[in-house]
């Protein structure tokens, strides 16, 4: 069964984030909570478009680069 989108997104976010900042720092920059970042990375959250853009802005990358 093809891995769920949420799981694939979480894995990709973690991969990109780990090379740059801690979950805490990303949460601060994106205006989200650290626990929500953790949930997203564990593939538990079906994020919104606006959250996608907040994460991309905070990581200084284009939103499309976060898409699995």
């Amino acid at each position: 069964m093809e891995e769920k989108l949420k799981v694939r997104f979480g894995k990709k976010l973690r991969l990109i984030r780990k090379g740059k900042v801690s979950q805490e720092a990303l949460a601060d920059k994106a205006g989200l909570t650290r626990s929500y970042i953790g949930r997203i990375e564990r593939g538990k959250a079906n994020i919104s478009l606006e959250t996608l853009y907040k994460l991309a802005d905070a990581l200084a990358i284009a939103p499309g680069e976060l898409l699995p």
Copy 2:
């Protein structure tokens, strides 16, 4: 004030969709309602990642192409 993400996304979706299918046909293909497609195109909906992928699949384009 920079146009809201929801509005920019709606405009882009309408532009791409109009060249291909009706709102009704897109709704059917994407497993969404026509009225929801209308709300998205009017910039009223902060869609989820999964809806982004459903729309892209239904339009046979990559999800990143829908991002404003």
